[in-house]
């Protein structure tokens, strides 16, 4: 059990039973229930809104947080920086009550608290804006905000007064959103505002933002930054979980860095450069620039002509999409998530049926071919969701490296008998060549590898098949900086070898840096194709949001 001050458990059990809806009535339950104990504490005015001391949290096989300390001053924007798997989310989940720490203590305004579940966190004035919104699509903004603590007049739901209060809050904090609009009708940026309003409606003084910019366009990110500043000006304390340095530099006052579950340090953001922050995060010098030698593109290798894809319900997901990719160039597809990227990838690889249009690979139409036939024609694919589409977790590295070619020589011998030794030696070769780190070499189960090494297995397999066209989706998602650098370098190497590469990524940075040409996708169509240095991130952002006409005007 967690380390607790004596006499506290009874207090928290009370909170557990208390529904979230009651929190407005008892603003600070600590004072009412634990006044005797709090006497002494109140004398000492804490400079910190939150202190998390020596927090340790373990999961089977992993120490997610190892004696981590976090001190957040009142009314500051405090960034929590770290790579994927550094323990940021775990720490915040502990603060929000989703996890219980194994040891360590949490102090709010200098008073120790035990946050057993999110309801307790809410009643203590902690709110969280999740990365993946938790909204009911066919409810209105107001209904979503009051959900779980609906105001009543007598026995009747009183949405009018709630709607009024939502309007007030949205005015006070500059969070423009129509209280009566349905969630499904408003933009992602506005949905995020609804999530923020949800926390404010519950009187949150401390608001945790979990990777809030991941789903936003550059313009929406700018607006969010303004909102964060406005919240700070209104007296809120903000905790910002992110791995994007630029955002930290832009809005944060201080920044705490975590690396592999341990506390590295807390710095005043004004005193450090992005470079220094990156080094604290990764633990070594980091190169920001991607070295990409000049290369003149050759012939068209993959041509997408008038593609149309419908989903199971017949809704058009891709409409009249045209794009050519040449030998020796990387073409990036930039866009907000859900604008047809997955459907485009599926249509090219054959995972999703095409309802109209033509896909021409090296002069041959492939849209009627099976997935295997497309692979044989020279189509390589590094999928977005590597655990789901990229590797078979229960298969070994050897089996995974051969999974696209096992039915051919040298792996298949007479009578369909497989040569597992040949697979092993083939994998051995790839392990050397691609620096795949594994416990048992070729016979290591792919599922036991780290994300970066799984991705290396996939990249190694695809490259070893010498594809003419390589389709790459989100190749660096969830990887640490070292693996990101490596994977990007390999993609550029393939370009230098004259492969045509289609890169679909939600990380605009990645697209801007890696690609020779950038195609912006919006609502299932390519709205513009620009050369690398002839377009700014801002312009792309405008086009991503679907307003390309204004951008060009």
């Amino acid at each position: 059990m967690a380390q607790l001050p004596v006499g506290f458990p009874h207090l928290t059990t009370k909170f557990v039973l208390q529904p979230a809806g009651d929190c407005r009535l008892s603003l600070n339950p600590l004072e009412s229930v634990d006044s005797k104990r709090a006497d002494k504490e109140e004398l000492r005015v804490s400079e910190y809104a939150i202190e998390m001391k020596n927090i340790t949290k373990t999961f089977p096989g992993v120490v997610a947080n190892d004696k981590v300390t976090l001190q957040v001053r009142k009314q500051e924007i405090h960034a929590l920086l770290g790579e994927n798997g550094a323990g940021k989310s775990t720490l915040m989940s502990i603060l929000f009550g989703s996890y219980i720490a194994d040891s360590g203590e949490i102090l709010l305004d200098g008073k120790p608290v035990e946050i057993k579940n999110p309801n307790v966190a809410t009643s203590l004035g902690i709110g969280m804006v999740h990365q993946h919104f938790k909204l009911v699509q066919n409810f209105t903004v107001t209904e979503n905000i009051v959900l779980g603590m609906e105001p009543v007049k007598g026995r009747v739901l009183d949405l009018k007064s709630a709607s009024k209060r939502v309007a007030e809050l949205s005015k006070q904090y500059g969070l423009q959103v129509d209280p009566d609009a349905l969630i499904e009708d408003i933009s992602v940026g506005q949905q995020q505002r609804v999530e923020i309003l949800k926390t404010l409606y519950r009187n949150a003084n401390i608001i945790i933002f979990d990777e809030p910019t991941a789903v936003l366009t550059p313009q929406e990110i700018d607006e969010l930054m303004d909102i964060l500043k406005a919240l700070r000006a209104e007296g809120k304390t903000i905790l910002l979980i992110t791995h994007k340095l630029r955002e930290i530099k832009e809005v944060s006052d201080r920044c705490t860095v975590l690396r592999r579950g341990t506390y590295i340090g807390t710095v005043d953001v004004a005193d450090v450069s992005e470079q220094e922050l990156a080094e604290m995060m990764v633990g070594r010098a980091v190169k920001f620039e991607i070295e990409k030698p000049e290369k003149t593109p050759g012939d068209v290798m993959l041509s997408l002509q008038h593609l149309e894809v419908k989903d199971e319900n017949g809704a058009v997901k891709i409409k009249d999409l045209n794009l050519d990719i040449h030998d020796g160039e990387i073409v990036g597809v930039a866009g907000v998530d859900g604008n047809g990227q997955s459907e485009l990838l599926g249509a090219i690889t054959g995972l999703i049926p095409l309802s109209n249009g033509s896909i021409v690979l090296d002069g041959e139409p492939i849209e009627q071919l099976t997935i295997r036939e497309r692979i044989e024609k020279g189509l390589g694919y590094i999928p977005e969701d590597r655990r789901r589409y990229g590797v078979v977790g229960e298969f070994t590295i050897a089996e995974n490296s051969a999974i696209k070619s096992y039915y051919k020589s040298p792996y298949r011998k007479q009578f369909g008998i497989l040569d597992f030794e040949a697979m092993k030696s083939g994998a051995e070769h790839l392990i050397d060549q691609f620096d795949i780190r594994s416990a048992e070499g070729p016979i290591t189960k792919a599922g036991s590898l780290s994300g970066g090494n799984q991705q290396k297995v996939i990249v190694a397999r695809e490259i070893s098949l010498s594809p003419k066209v390589l389709v790459v989706a989100q190749p660096t998602r969830g990887l640490d900086v070292g693996a990101i650098e490596y994977i990007r370098k390999r993609i550029i190497d393939e370009r230098m070898k004259g492969r045509a590469i289609l890169l679909v990524s939600l990380e605009l940075d990645e697209i801007m840096n890696l690609c020779d040409r950038i195609a912006t996708i919006s609502k299932g169509s390519i709205v513009a194709v620009n050369k690398q240095h002839e377009v700014t991130e801002r312009e792309i952002g405008m086009m991503m949001a679907g307003s390309h006409k204004e951008a060009q005007a």
Partner: protein
């Protein structure tokens, strides 16, 4: 010590052995609870296994023969379930495939050409084919139209049962429960076995079963077909994205699964009975096969061992009744074994908890 425990939980084989022991333990306790001597249960089991009657010191090899003979359909139906399971399917239709195999074998036995050496072969081949057709139908429905194999196999079990009755009632000399006797040429009795096992029903079916086990192992572990099937079973999406024809894998795996169950039906028809049966209910070998495959982890060797265990328990039933132990105890033991297998995830959770505690100690949580 700690390491060995971790290995134990991670190894599928060891878990199966462990749950079998636990199943027997529960059985023992139950026998004691109903006021009988558990020792008698083990005496019966010993006799079923070795033919040795410890009470009177007499040896009768027939029991060994019967245990082996009982095991044959369990193993084959286990292979049927196991094969589909390895491709990620749940074949509850073993029973229907078994019934169809049995029915067709009876039909060929009664109506086929009475040529020595060909007659029974033809009957067995037809049983295998119709079993694989019955299973393959489910596979095609699943692969092409995404019809849940669980639902379609259950329904096909009933269709098989009543279809079997309709067909068998048309056979020569059919009464409400049996047909005319099979001609000698249709039987798969083995005179040598009959002699050395003191007139047990052990027959040539055991050779066919052994061949089936080898075929299962060879296809699954050694061939390119099996590679694609295993990939489909572990991760269908990744297999598909890698170009593996998963639709074909699924349809084909159900057909092969059906072939094993159909073979079981053929062997029972020609080996254990000398006449065709008009079924009034199911024989349940197909369902027991699910448990056999579960205990055997859907591998060739594991399923064989689990099938032998189930065959032995079935053979021990009569012996136990002779010693005033209710034969239902064997069903309880089988049931407990399946429950304990299902509880395996609990063992893994327990292991994770222990790992976590260990880790906490290392990083110094107080």
């Amino acid at each position: 010590m700690k390491l060995s425990r971790e290995r134990l939980i991670q190894s599928d084989g060891a878990v199966s052995v462990l749950v079998v022991i636990l199943g027997f333990l529960v059985g023992t306790i139950l026998v004691a609870l109903v006021g009988k001597n558990p020792l008698n249960m083990y005496k019966a089991i010993l006799q079923a296994l070795s033919g040795y009657n410890i009470d009177n010191g007499k040896m009768n090899v027939r029991y060994i023969g019967e245990t082996l003979n009982y095991s044959v359909p369990f193993i084959l139906c286990g292979l049927s379930m196991g094969f589909a399971n390895r491709v990620g399917l749940f074949n509850i239709g073993g029973e229907g495939q078994y019934i169809m195999g049995m029915t067709v074998a009876q039909m060929v036995a009664l109506l086929g050409p009475q040529i020595q050496g060909l007659h029974w072969v033809l009957a067995i081949v037809c049983a295998v084919l119709v079993g694989s057709l019955w299973g393959g139908l489910v596979g095609v429905l699943k692969a092409k139209y995404e019809v849940s194999e669980v639902v379609s196999t259950i329904m096909l079990n009933y269709i098989a049962l009543y279809l079997s009755r309709i067909i068998s009632l048309q056979m020569p000399g059919a009464t409400t429960y049996k047909t005319a006797d099979f001609p000698e040429t249709a039987l798969i009795t083995n005179d040598f076995f009959t002699k050395i096992t003191n007139y047990s029903l052990l027959n040539n079916g055991i050779f066919m079963m052994i061949i089936a086990v080898i075929v299962f192992w060879f296809i699954m572990e050694k061939t390119s077909l099996g590679f694609g099937m295993r990939a489909t079973g572990f991760n269908k999406e990744a297999a598909r994205a890698s170009g593996i024809p998963v639709v074909k894998s699924i349809a084909l795996s159900m057909a092969i699964a059906g072939a094993f169950a159909g073979l079981a039906g053929g062997i029972i028809a020609l080996g254990s009975f000398k006449y065709g049966r008009v079924l009034s209910g199911m024989d349940n070998y197909g369902f027991d096969g699910i448990a056999v495959a579960l205990v055997g982890n859907s591998t060739a060797l594991g399923t064989t061992l689990a099938g032998l265990l189930f065959g032995m328990l079935k053979n021990a039933q009569a012996l136990m009744q002779g010693k005033q132990i209710p034969k239902e105890i064997t069903f309880i033991i089988q049931g407990m074994i399946v429950i304990f297998i299902a509880l395996r995830s609990a063992l893994i959770l327990y292991q994770q908890h222990l790992d976590k505690m260990k880790l906490q100690k290392e990083v110094g949580v107080k």
